[in-house]
Symmetry: C2
Subunit: 311 residues, 2 copies
Amino acid sequence: MKKYAIAIHGGAGTITRSGLTPELEAAYKSALSEAIEIGDKILAEGGNALDAITESVRLMENNELFNAGKGSVFNHEGKHEMDAAIMDGKTLMAGAVSGIRNLKHPVLLAKAIMEKSAHVLLANSGAADFAKDMGLEFAPDEYFFVQHRYDQLLVAREEGQIVLDHTTPGDEKKFGTVGAVALDVHGNIAAATSTGGMTNKRWGRVGDSPIIGAGTYANNATCAISCTGHGEYFIRSVVAYDVSCLMEYKGLSLKEACDIVVMKKLVKLGGEGGLIAIDAAGNIEMPFNSEGMYRAMKRSGEDLFIGIYKD
Amino acid sequence: MKKYAIAIHGGAGTITRSGLTPELEAAYKSALSEAIEIGDKILAEGGNALDAITESVRLMENNELFNAGKGSVFNHEGKHEMDAAIMDGKTLMAGAVSGIRNLKHPVLLAKAIMEKSAHVLLANSGAADFAKDMGLEFAPDEYFFVQHRYDQLLVAREEGQIVLDHTTPGDEKKFGTVGAVALDVHGNIAAATSTGGMTNKRWGRVGDSPIIGAGTYANNATCAISCTGHGEYFIRSVVAYDVSCLMEYKGLSLKEACDIVVMKKLVKLGGEGGLIAIDAAGNIEMPFNSEGMYRAMKRSGEDLFIGIYKD
């Protein structure tokens, strides 16, 4: 039996035991478990890594707990502008979208851009036109209305801040993003990321999630990566491809490369966050330099692991 | 006297001697000469690499010959959507814009985003709002109307093609972009890129130019890079950062790294185009795997070099 494996994340940040109620903690664990199980099932049945990560991300895009799809944060104008990306480690094909509105599943659009267009990155209303051509499902603003997200906007507006996911008084700072990486039984790896970006974001700000090489990257020869964190630092550090290059050009292991990029280089620059990474041997790393990261992993023949805090 | 140096490009593609009239060739050479001289003058007077490349790119954005600023190609809707990026090799700070309309100098917006916002990448109308806040100069559609660009759109529309810069019957294929890299007497390097993208482009397509790590990258420790070519391949290959990583992690020279990325890896993937690169020692490389690339370089104490064709 060939090995397969999958890992997912639901964002990183100042996530502490004291900051989460037992009910909320249980809800996150249940959501992570549900999301990884759908991907794991696809892999167990011999499905592709691309399909597994797409379904895992799609499920998280349905869940209000995560800053992606339905649970996306509000921007400055009280709208939702979402970004997503996907990359196939076998072919180095990639698809990404930025600033898409009212689309239920940005990850499906990223996949369609990769598979059905000659392009890698489509943006804003143009990307919406392409999504309509592809027959993807849109939803009205009400679908994306989540009360606690709206409260975050009101607070952020009042404080004149652009905040990452949410910072309400007494609440934790979080970098809301979801992502998945997987290895399938055919030996191929892939990565996907989806996000609503920053609460109260203005000026069409785009983070690292839809930037191939920064927030998302996959190459069978090295690794598949999905990042979550303060996007600007992840873009400037070309985080995902940096891990890949440390493996390819310096011969480092996945673990060594992840440690250098997340725990040393990003920390030095001041970039808070983390990533999930997988290689073609099925190794998985989920490093983060913040207080916590919603994460889960499952390897063929092994137990499901779910983590939130540092330890 | 400390060394300084600058290199610029005005796009790559199927540019052949038989395809250019003597008059057009002279016009390109004159434009390249003018653009590099303004940057060279800033460097000679002890100015910063960032200011030198900004001015060189700004001048090319004024020139109808180049697919950037005024000379930007028309998109599918008969509008101009421009992308630009800049990066500072000293601080690893970066700024970029995608899908900006009616702005005379996208490179100035990229620089303002780097210096005056907390963000790296702003897009579309949101980016325009920020540009207005910064007091940058806008121009009506008429300013951007260039007859031969419009003719290219009509042909492309008729043929149902999305074309890179221009392909008119009997005309050459070109990847229209402008860019500059420089080393200043303070030992700092920087890179900037600006483009109008692809003629007849739809769906808010974004190429590699505004993607830090793909079309633009700078790091004093390795190199400063500005790319021009078939953007989708440059994004998937994370071209600019790949050159940097080959230097940093494999110890290759600028020339060796450029050769591997442009002449081997990109060629293998089918990615046509080239780049200009500089390192902190003042070495300059301008490799391209297409028929030609509009390019120029000038090092302190050396003669100006201007090139168009392969040899």
